[in-house]
């Protein structure tokens, strides 16, 4: 995903002169192609995420579309108020990028576990959350975010994720992307790295015949579009590598609650808080957390 990210960012920067990248002293062996080709649109802000985000907003107010880039919770929780007040409230085109979403940095400990980021970002009314499930969704999401500038959050894994799409899909906030056919009334709906897990579960006898969808883009506003998808289904299991509270499944349940006539069961599968403070590989921690 990191490679798809930087390749796509370079491609977008060639096409859009306003695209800029600010890193928080992270991105070794990832961000160099951008820094070398666009030195005037690249900044290493150092280890100072509040300033990184405030200055990104300031640059965005003068015409740039700024991507801020760091690991896990550093570009989100460390500077949450700068995202809320400077970026979101002023409706500025800043895309906050976090690598190591979920438990991708499982062995690095709780500081590096990004399992509450959706909860933070999705409470901002105009924030578009991008949680791609594969490298093709990374590219599609980034194109959407640059062509529809505004406050956004891009959650990436690490590297080496398989591709499920053969080409970048057509994406929009709240849109369900079908990855696996099945019976039309039962579905998995994943976001982010939940896609890999849903695809694995879909081939088990317990879930035989269940469709698999990915939702790489979602937002507060996109809740209103979910009734249409839920109305024709009887059972949807959401899959995410985030805590249940404030997460993606919670988001879909809130969307369902907007229309009391919906009878579809929405069953979130998300991480149990037991993962908080436990160290291990991503796969180990996801299993421990119930995924």
């Amino acid at each position: 995903m990191r490679n798809a990210f930087i390749e796509e960012l370079v491609a977008l920067a060639r096409k859009h002169p306003q695209v800029a990248l600010i890193v928080g002293d992270l991105g070794y062996s990832v961000i160099e192609p951008f820094a070398e080709e666009f030195p005037d649109r690249f900044v290493n802000a150092g280890v100072a995420e509040q300033n990184m985000t405030g200055l990104a907003a300031g640059m965005a107010s003068e015409g740039y579309h700024v991507f801020t880039y760091s690991i896990a919770n550093f570009p989100t929780f460390r500077c949450a108020e700068q995202i809320r007040n400077d970026v979101a409230y002023h409706e500025l085109p800043v895309t906050v990028v976090a690598v190591g979403g979920g438990l991708a940095y499982g062995a690095l400990g709780y500081s590096h576990h990004a399992v509450q980021d959706y909860a933070l970002m999705r409470t901002m009314p105009n924030m578009v959350l991008a949680a791609p499930g594969d490298p093709m969704e990374v590219r599609a999401a980034m194109r959407f975010l640059v062509e529809n500038p505004g406050p956004s959050y891009l959650r990436l894994g690490k590297a080496g994720e398989p591709s499920f799409h053969t080409a970048p899909p057509e994406v929009a906030p709240g849109r369900w992307l079908k990855l696996r056919d099945g019976e039309p009334d039962r579905a998995f709906l994943s976001t982010g790295a939940g896609l890999q897990i849903a695809m694995d579960w879909a081939v088990t006898p317990e879930h035989a015949g269940r469709e698999v969808y990915s939702m790489p883009l979602w937002s507060m506003a996109a809740k209103a579009s979910q009734a249409e998808m839920l109305r024709t289904r009887s059972d949807v299991i959401t899959v995410e590598d985030h805590l249940y509270d404030g997460g993606f499944g919670s988001w879909l349940l809130e969307a369902k609650a907007l229309d009391q006539s919906l009878t579809c069961a929405v069953r979130p599968r998300a991480l149990d808080p037991v993962v908080c403070g436990t160290v291990g590989s991503q796969a180990t921690l996801n299993r421990l957390g119930g995924l």
Partner: protein, 272 residues
């Protein structure tokens, strides 16, 4: 385009009168903070910044950010006195659904940036200054901070960044009235030796009487700053300046003048 060339001493007097009327009408706080910055803001709007009230978004304007957003009535008054907003709009300050909220709001024509939480103005201003440098634009960015606000670490992050990148198109001004929310700055979280600290962070530093218009103009006008480094103007001020019973008095960070106090204040300010 040059500055608006509005006589700043009289502008400051009219702004002070508007400010006390606004907080009285809205029963709002922070009049001491607004009176403290009235001269600095009047000099910037009247004599220093390139602005066009008819085109608040004019691309070549100088940018002003009020990081101490609670002192917004001084800026709202300046915007009205300079023609950005009608004077009648000031009547709505703090009222239901008003665009003039009690911390400075970017929804008001002529206001670049909303603040209210301290420590946000300087990083945002650094972004503007860097954008101007990177895109070869000649306008300047001014950020006005409070002294108590210097407790926020984000300011010191921004100071390191601005000096590292040689942002000589950025001027920060600290309203150094030496009082903060509960008591003096000295008794709360010492900022001294402030000038030495700012120099050590790589800034050019000038200290002025923040109520002396000639001194403020000399420190803030184009060409006054250093080349290759950002400039910090330490403006020594008196909180509540211009109204004797509000001067250097912590309660006027919170209190709103009653009718009698408003009359006394306007008399002292010289409101016609």
């Amino acid at each position: 385009m040059a500055s608006l060339q509005i006589a700043s001493v009289d502008l400051a007097r009219r702004m002070r009168a508007q400010a006390v009327k606004m907080v009285h009408r809205a029963r709002a706080s922070h009049i001491g903070s607004a009176l403290s910055i009235a001269d600095i803001v009047a000099v910037l709007y009247g004599q220093v910044m390139a602005l066009d009230p008819a085109r608040p978004d004019w691309d070549e304007r100088d940018r002003f950010l009020l990081s101490k957003g609670h002192a917004c009535v001084a800026v709202y008054a300046a915007l009205a006195e300079c023609g950005f907003i009608p004077e009648s709009a000031l009547l709505n300050y703090g009222q239901d659904h008003s665009m003039l909220m009690n911390h400075i709001s970017h929804k008001v024509p002529g206001v670049e940036f909303s603040t209210g939480s301290l420590g946000h103005g300087l990083p945002f201003g650094v972004g503007k200054a860097l954008a101007a440098k990177r895109s070869g634009r000649g306008w300047r960015t001014f950020v006005l901070l409070s002294d108590g606000e210097l407790g926020e670490g984000s300011n010191w992050e921004a100071m390191m960044f601005a000096a590292h990148h040689g942002l000589d198109n950025l001027t920060a001004i600290v309203d150094y009235n030496k009082l903060q929310s509960l008591t003096t700055v000295d008794a709360t979280l010492r900022v001294e030796p402030l000038a030495d600290k700012l120099r050590a962070f790589g800034w050019a530093v000038r200290e002025v009487d923040g109520h002396d218009h000639a001194a403020l103009i000399a420190a803030l006008e184009r060409g006054a700053g250093a080349v290759g480094k950002p400039t910090f103007v330490i403006a020594h001020t008196t909180k509540g300046k211009g109204v004797s019973f509000m001067e250097n008095a912590v309660p006027w960070h919170y209190k709103s003048p009653n009718d009698a106090e408003l009359s006394r204040a306007l008399e002292e300010i010289g409101d016609a």
